[in-house]
Symmetry: C2
Subunit: 146 residues, 2 copies
Amino acid sequence: MISKKVKYAIIALVKLAREYNKGPILIRDIAESEKIPQKFLETILSDLKHAGILASKKGKGGGYYLLKSPDEVNLATIIRLFDGAIALLPCVTYQYYERCEECKDEETCGIREVFKEVRDETVELLKAATLSEIIRRESKLEKKKR
Amino acid sequence: MISKKVKYAIIALVKLAREYNKGPILIRDIAESEKIPQKFLETILSDLKHAGILASKKGKGGGYYLLKSPDEVNLATIIRLFDGAIALLPCVTYQYYERCEECKDEETCGIREVFKEVRDETVELLKAATLSEIIRRESKLEKKKR
DNA sequence: AATATAGTCTATAGAACTAATAGACTATAT
DNA sequence: ATATAGTCTATTAGTTCTATAGACTATATT
């Protein structure tokens, strides 16, 4: 399971992507419209800013806005930023690699091979899931519903 | 990430699968050969017994052994047993479904659709990963290494 | 310059979960 | 009878997750 932090981050980012190039949006507005605890959202948006994904403006007319374009931001990046590795085993991660203590031979470990495949598939799907792509899917689903 | 419980469970099950139909194996032997804390392993094996995957025999010559055949036991089952849902979002699980409070319309949620695809791919791969399959892969990797 | 607006930073805290251990108890083979 | 081996209940230390409080800093506007 992804953490609430990631879930809130994605929801906020999709919201900001919908308002891309329309100027800064208040934390309060995002919190209210997306039903996210405001104080919690503050730390999340701050993290996204430090990661170079968002930017902010203080004072009247301020708020947060997307620094990167919506098709540059994907879910693999967001999950890694808050929750760390995407893989299900530490010995199968790119960026957070850790050897299993109880492992006899990593090279010939059948368990590892399975989890490597899972990671590859998952990362591929999550990388393809950019903010633009999510919005595109939403419109499609809405059309379908009518 | 899967929990240590799942990791230990898989390792123990693969060990028992290698010794399938060779009679019961001591908790102590599994703990030692696989470097798993014995007391912790006890609770894990007990859970696997209650789930109908293992059986045990008490007294001298006792121990644990596979009740199901190694090609009937797959990693999706084991992960669900100990860690719960495989999906990354509660609104995308089969058995542990929970609606997102902040969700406006589940039917048209683009985020949900992405995570549904991830779940489908993951479950498919994990279901194919039976104990037999893992052992088969190990032999292949060993041959390749030589 | 004053003031309201709005993001920033540091600290903290309760709840839940994880990993592991202790120890008394029960069942079985010989 | 006795040694062997699994069973059950409780507990604990540590960590992570989710969220909140409150003081502080920067900016736009008048």
